[in-house]
């Protein structure tokens, strides 16, 4: 825990202490709670509803109307490639991507043969592999749990212009909702933190923190919503006359693939 974490905790604790319920109020509340609970238990009736039935109906109508409106907005947003909520889509080579997904599912099979269901994530970069195993405390694996393939591609060029060159590829196999924390990734040489959350409708929320501690010394943090199979630019930064960019592509490894 760093200094700012301690200060935040101190601020939160101070706020919660100042808002702890007073003894005077608590005494009144105890009386009310006991009396009402006894009455409710004796009569076996529900606690009185906070809203009248007609108000519930009005709220229900509003909820349906709001859902329809929200659904319409999302529909139009998804149809729009430049929507604010979706990160910038990039042209991608679908064939190469599907080949990578197939290769990753084979890799997952091999690792699962070795470690069973304990595999939480696998990261591959420059002939090196890092494997994250499930900790004992998080060993409650859901039978519905799925794995995702994520490709991170780092490219660089001079800030004066010129062609983009590949600096690094990282291929990740991640069980959904597993937090991936890799202390140092090969030539990235900095910590990588990633978390995924499938949203349905072929959309996945991805939180990423990627630190570059080698000559590039920069970092990219992003919270994006990605469409399966689309290559998306999630961040750029400039350092010492060089411009870097990071693209991300994501897809599911289906259970059939894993076999």
């Amino acid at each position: 825990m760093n200094d700012s974490d301690e200060k935040l905790d101190s601020l939160l604790r101070s706020w919660s202490q100042n808002h702890s319920v007073s003894e005077k109020h608590l005494n009144v509340l105890i009386r009310q709670v006991v009396d009402n609970t006894v009455s409710a238990n004796n009569a076996s009736v529900q606690l009185k509803a906070p809203y009248r039935a007609d108000r519930r109906l009005i709220f229900a109508c509003f909820a349906v109307a709001a859902s329809l409106l929200l659904g319409t907005v999302i529909w139009f947003k998804l149809g729009d490639g430049n929507a604010d909520q979706l990160a910038e889509k990039l042209p991608s080579d679908k064939g190469a991507w599907l080949e990578l997904v197939g290769r990753q599912s084979q890799l997952l099979n091999e690792y699962q043969n070795l470690f069973g269901d304990e595999v939480a994530w696998i990261a591959e970069s420059e002939q090196l592999s890092d494997v994250g195993l499930r900790t004992r405390s998080s060993a409650e694996k859901s039978s519905e749990s799925r794995y995702l393939v994520i490709r991170l591609r780092v490219q660089a060029r001079q800030t004066t212009g010129g062609d983009w060159n590949d600096v690094q590829f990282v291929n990740l196999l991640v069980e959904e909702q597993q937090l991936v924390q890799i202390p140092a990734m090969a030539s990235l040489a900095g910590p990588l933190t990633l978390w995924t959350y499938p949203l349905g409708d072929n959309l996945v929320a991805v939180d990423l923190e990627c630190h570059f501690e080698s000559e590039s010394r920069g970092s990219i943090e992003s919270d994006s919503i990605l469409h399966l199979g689309d290559s998306v630019r999630v961040g750029t930064f400039k350092r010492d006359g060089v411009e870097y960019r990071l693209d991300q592509t994501i897809d599911f490894v289906t259970r059939d693939d894993v076999g």
């Binding site: 700012s4 974490d5 200060k7 935040l8 905790d9 601020l11 939160l12 604790r13 101070s14 706020w15 919660s16 202490q17 100042n18 808002h19 702890s20 319920v21 007073s22 003894e23 005077k24 109020h25 608590l26 005494n27 509340l29 105890i30 009310q32 709670v33 006991v34 009402n36 609970t37 006894v38 409710a40 238990n41 004796n42 606690l47 906070p50 809203y51 709220f59 939480a120 900790t135 405390s137 998080s138 409650e140 909702q177 597993q178 937090l179 978390w195 939180d207």
Partner: protein
């Protein structure tokens, strides 16, 4: 914790009775003393947790009432190998979340009855600074989505470990770690000025 005892000590419940024994006794005999003992033991925890997540004093009182009725009615679903405090935290969190889902709004500090809170014994200048910090912290907590607010309340204010908080929220440990991480990151951004030395 407030001490509240019945006048007739000989007929009162044993102070060493477990929470489950008190509930069973209340269900079988209707003993008000047993219920009073149970409520007295846990009301501060329930009320404070409900307020910290709902950020509304009136709602916290209603939620506290509802939690104890749910506890009495649903004791059969409590597993004996589980911790009563975890179960109680879970019921409180779920009841508060339901309350928020019903459309209840978090409360601004201007509408809060200060006599409900413990407060502090600071001087006028300190009180002004403290009030500014309190307002900023309250507003920042109100901006957090309920799930992230619950994660930070359970761990930073209630003192639960990430593992215990994950049990209360019935989510995986990595998900709880992520919620805590995300909540802290957002709060640090919103409270940047207050966190400066």
């Amino acid at each position: 914790m407030v001490e509240h005892r019945t006048e007739n000590a000989t007929k009162g419940p044993s102070l060493e009775a477990s929470d489950q024994q008190l509930i069973t006794e209340f269900q079988c005999t209707g003993s008000k003393e047993c219920l009073e003992e149970l409520v007295t033991r846990h009301i501060a925890t329930v009320r404070n947790l409900a307020f910290r997540i709902s950020l509304c004093s009136m709602a916290a009182d209603d939620i506290t009432q509802e939690v104890f009725i749910r506890v009495i009615r649903n004791i059969a679903s409590f597993r004996k190998d589980a911790q009563f405090s975890t179960w109680l935290h879970r019921i409180t969190v779920n009841t508060t979340r339901t309350h928020l889902d019903r459309g209840a709004r978090t409360q601004s500090l201007e509408n809060t009855d200060e006599s409900m809170f413990v407060g502090s014994a600071a001087g006028p200048d300190q009180l002004r600074i403290q009030s500014e910090l309190t307002d900023a912290t309250h507003n920042a907590l109100a901006r957090l989505p309920p799930k992230l607010r619950t994660a930070i309340v359970l761990t930073s204010m209630e003192g639960l470990s990430a593992q215990e908080a994950a049990r209360v929220e019935a989510c995986t440990l990595p998900t709880m770690y992520w919620r805590i991480h995300k909540a802290r990151k957002l709060l640090k951004g919103w409270l940047k000025r207050e966190l400066e030395p």
